[in-house]
Assembly symmetry: C2
Homo-oligomer: 255 residues x 2
Amino acid sequence: MEKISSTKNSKVKEWVKLKTNNGRKKFKKFLLEGRHPVETALEQATEYEFLIVQEDFDLGELAEQVDNDKLILVTKEVANHISDTVHDQGIFLIGYINEEDWQFPDDLSGKWLVLDNVQDPGNIGTMVRTADAAGFTGVVFGDGTADFYNPKILRAMQGSQYHLQLKRLNLEKWIRNCKDQGSVIFGSILDENARDYRKIDVPDQFSLIMGNEGNGMSERLIEMTDMNLYIPIKGSAESLNVAVAAGVLMFGLAG
Amino acid sequence: MEKISSTKNSKVKEWVKLKTNNGRKKFKKFLLEGRHPVETALEQATEYEFLIVQEDFDLGELAEQVDNDKLILVTKEVANHISDTVHDQGIFLIGYINEEDWQFPDDLSGKWLVLDNVQDPGNIGTMVRTADAAGFTGVVFGDGTADFYNPKILRAMQGSQYHLQLKRLNLEKWIRNCKDQGSVIFGSILDENARDYRKIDVPDQFSLIMGNEGNGMSERLIEMTDMNLYIPIKGSAESLNVAVAAGVLMFGLAG
């Protein structure tokens, strides 16, 4: 079992880079942190490179599951350095990014949540968790949307990433492929002239597109949908939080 | 117009205390920050003690609305000191807390969202905004729930505090008073034996109680409701984010 006490160690330098989009692209790995997320990843038999724990960390039952060759002990200083949080829990996992994330699924049937340029990691993680709860097949991350290996998104998904498919794809191509396979594309917009989501016939197979927190869906995609939906606002609020709106629409459409 | 350049000024010391629950209780005032929240407060003709701006702040059209006796200029150092955010916008307002917040409304009719021991300021602000959008009459903050003059909650409400009634009340008394006036009390719990929210007759007047993020509603309140509702979870997620669950229920019940 390796021990690392310097933040200048080459492995540590690589781990820190995994906190960025570019670093993850370069090394095709991601950094997961926190006891519950790491335990869940190990339960799911995720392929991983290293399990990293702070010297005084009590592995408990995890000790039996872990391959000693993959276990690395680090000092508190190194743990703080690689952590993305203010108070880290002293446990990290280096996982491999799946090449299939960038490949179109063979089967586009089912219900898909599609994120067009959504920015906030908390909102994104919450939407993935809600899509899981609403029985959706998967979530498609469009070009402008934050990467789902972003450490904040990984935490906010709370394990839902293992229950549905996550894809990182070009959304124009997604829409064209869905239409080819007879799956309906719903946009969501803040416009009373759009269709009230409670007053439509919901097909078995569809994609629901949610747009950017401030600017909504991109114009190009709005034009490509089969139908654009809106949630009637009764009070004086100008809009809904995007994760709440996604929840209302997903449970409303999934019946 | 007064100018303050020291963080040791007695006014500055009071303002900093308004970031805490105890400070707000003592002085019966609250601190609001950011251009949009302050503009909205002024548009709503909120009673205020001071408008505080950093020296180089461009008031623009606000200049005409502001009473010069209430305007205080501060240095960048003082602005940083009183701010609750990492990057403050250089504008703050000191408002008066309304004594009516602690009084039962004469009329309990309509739809009320009731928060039992909800903790996260972002969740709370989002729920108030969603209650506004769903046409609710007001939101009741129970004893254990964060104070709605908490700066983070003020920001997250995005002005919805001016569109509906916010109350800080004892929830057991709230439930008894509602029952006396013929208003129905719905709890929300994670239990498949509770009633599916889509399969009930929804009355015109009701309260919907949302519980703590981790532990749900308190047992005492669960026993006092007329009916407890749940959202059927189809996938493998263990639960929904409380603000998403509140959104699904409020729009589901409000029709």
